[in-house]
């Protein structure tokens, strides 16, 4: 059927040329970053998706490994992207500048989502991407689902919040202005790191941690069954003594590696860890 094939070819050329702001939703969307992979798979129609990044197939970091299998994957290499002939490329704020420059030069349309550090930023990302994909209703529904999941979690009175913090290999913690901070607060904990004046993702001194007397320590590593000095630090006996032998609770890293609706699961897990829950 050469006629049809020719027609498609012409249509594609037109689409490529005309899709700029013509109001028609993009139909060959390529995502080159795990974070945009996840939102894309949640918001787009199947036939809008041309490719997702290979990272989305890895179940330990990806929430959408099951669905992602149905699509071609890419490694964010320029050659691959050209062959895919996308009408929209999705990625995040921090992407290789040379790749971005190249894509820009070749005239591709690239949308970069900021890395969210709060729930409202996650919502704004969802809303923005849903608009781009021409799926605003799906965006609204997803946001609604998130909010209702969060509202299931009973709020903890300010004076009854036990102290907790995230403690990562190499002694890093999440202070104010991080997703972990907001999740801890929503789950009913008070974040010791933020109280100590730590902002963002930063290291906390062991003595300072102990003096804060946390009731619970959380960790969130993406290291699997590997060993290093950094990871060994989490086994410091003082950490167990200070929480009266409550083990460090591991919250899967995939909740935070990208800000997204899965934050609600993290909040639920953090909440479930509260001591003496009513």
């Amino acid at each position: 059927m050469p006629g049809i094939r020719g027609f498609i070819l012409i249509w594609l050329m037109l689409a490529a040329g005309l899709s700029w702001g013509d109001g028609r939703p993009p139909s060959r969307v390529v995502s080159i970053n795990l974070c945009t992979d996840q939102l894309l798979l949640m918001l787009a129609d199947a036939d809008q998706i041309a490719s997702v990044s290979y990272l989305s197939l890895q179940p330990e970091s990806s929430f959408v490994a099951g669905e992602a299998i149905r699509y071609p994957t890419n490694h964010a290499r320029p050659e691959e992207l050209l062959a895919l002939d996308p009408d929209l490329i999705l990625t995040v704020e921090f992407t290789d500048r040379r790749l971005l420059g190249l894509l820009d030069k070749l005239g591709y349309r690239v949308a970069r989502l900021p890395m969210p550090t709060s729930i409202s930023a996650i919502e704004s990302n969802i809303r923005q991407l849903a608009e781009l994909l021409g799926q605003p209703a799906r965006g609204t529904a997803l946001i609604h689902k998130m909010r209702s999941a969060l509202s299931q979690i009973p709020p903890q009175p300010a004076n009854q919040r036990p102290k907790a913090l995230f403690y990562q290999p190499r002694g890093y913690t999440s202070g104010s202005g991080t997703l972990q901070n907001e999740a801890l607060a929503l789950a009913g904990w008070s974040n010791l790191a933020a109280e100590k004046g730590i902002h963002g993702y930063n290291s906390i001194d062991l003595e300072s941690l102990l003096l804060g007397q946390p009731d619970q320590i959380f960790s969130s590593t993406y290291t699997g069954e590997t060993r290093s000095l950094a990871q060994r630090q989490l086994r410091h006996p003082a950490l167990h003594h200070i929480t009266h032998n409550r083990p460090i609770i591991e919250i899967p890293f995939k909740y935070w590696i990208c800000g997204g609706p899965m934050i609600t699961d993290a909040v639920a897990e953090l909440h479930a860890a509260l001591p003496n829950k009513p």
Binding site: P169, R170, G171, S203, D205, L206, E207, S208, L210, L211, Q213, Y222, T223, G224, E225, T226, R227, S228, L229, A230, Q231, R232, Q233, R235, H236, P237, A238, H241, I242, H244
Partner: protein, 333 residues
């Protein structure tokens, strides 16, 4: 010129300094705590926070500094005496970097099922291997230059292998830990760390307990020493084994802290009348003093992330090393 001091007086003085620094290292931490209260609580109730900071954070660190510093000082003195070479030291002739290599293999590639003693064991084997290799490369009666060259070669090889292995290691944190192994750090040490380094360290020390006289005799060269009753091959093996056990265990916990084994014996030599046997105990105490002091300093220096203790010992040691070179140049003229 600095003169000889009676041994008992010298050791007493060094003990007092080491003891004071040990106490000081319990007093100073990254946070200021009421130490007196902490002490009271330690003896009354171990579950208080202050007691916890004292016994689980500061105590292990001070103990490790004490034992690792003493090990490096002692082994430096023993090696210099055996090789009759003022530049021999665990850091220069490969014992320390070999130990770090062995420990890296054990830690990053050993299975988690292995006992935690696989770490010092790796350090001990690595240290023994590297030291013997340098010794064989340089030959038995190596001059300073040959020994240093062989040491440089084996050190570079060990460090290159450490970098390579840490790049290949499955843990994503491994690469960032290269500096830690190369410079050494006592940060966040726990009592567990102390317990795993202790057996090898003590064994090494015990092996060195009775070598003093033989090392004294070696002052007059190998032939004379043999005629004075020294069993030379056995002495060599004893010292290599002792250094491997002690340095291997210490480095597997602290990383390769440099220059202590080189500098400390030199600084103390005049006070013991240059007698290698007397130098051993003094040098062990001196090593403990230097490492304790360096470790207190890194805690007090204002820095975003803590400075590695090896950086401080190198900052003290490297100029001293240069001074030695200049001094030896003047001698030879």
């Amino acid at each position: 010129m600095l003169g000889e001091i009676r041994q008992a007086r010298l050791l007493g003085l060094l003990c007092v300094i080491a003891g004071s620094l040990f106490l000081a290292s319990l007093l100073f931490g990254s946070q200021t705590i009421p130490v007196f209260q902490a002490l009271q609580e330690t003896f009354a109730d171990t579950s208080s926070v202050l007691a916890l900071i004292l016994t689980e954070v500061r105590l292990p660190r001070a103990l490790i500094a004490l034992f690792a510093g003493a090990t490096l000082g002692l082994c430096g003195a023993a090696m210099q005496a055996m090789l009759r070479n003022p530049l021999a030291s665990p850091g220069l002739i490969g014992s320390a970097s070999g130990a770090a290599l062995g420990a890296v293999i054990a830690l990053y590639f050993g299975s988690a099922a292995l006992s935690q003693f696989s770490l010092p064991l790796g350090g001990i084997l690595g240290s023994l291997g590297a030291t013997l290799l340098v010794y064989l490369l340089a030959g038995r009666n190596a001059c300073t230059l040959t020994l240093i060259l062989a040491g440089v070669a084996i050190n570079s090889l060990s460090l290159a292998l450490i970098s390579l292995l840490l790049n290949l290691a499955p843990s994503p944190y491994a690469v960032q830990e290269i500096v830690l192994w190369m410079m050494g750090s006592l940060n966040n040490s726990s009592m567990d760390n102390f317990w795993i380094m202790l057996p090898g360290t003590l064994l090494g020390w015990i092996l060195l307990l009775r070598v003093g006289r033989a090392l004294d005799a070696l002052t007059l060269g190998e032939e004379t020493a043999q005629s004075m009753g020294v069993d030379l091959p056995r002495l060599r093996w004893r010292i290599f084994l002792a250094v491997a056990l002690a340095v291997g265990s210490a480095v597997s916990v602290t990383g390769a802290i440099g220059f202590i084994g080189l500098v400390v014996p030199h600084m103390l030599r005049p006070f013991v009348g240059y007698q290698p046997g007397r130098l051993l105990a003094a040098s062990a105490l001196g090593g403990a003093i230097l490492l304790l002091a360096a470790d207190i300093l890194v805690r007090l220096l204002p820095a975003q992330t803590e400075i590695k203790v090896g950086v401080v010992t190198a900052l003290v040691g490297a100029p001293f090393f240069l001074y030695l070179i200049i001094k030896s140049r003047r001698y030879n003229q």
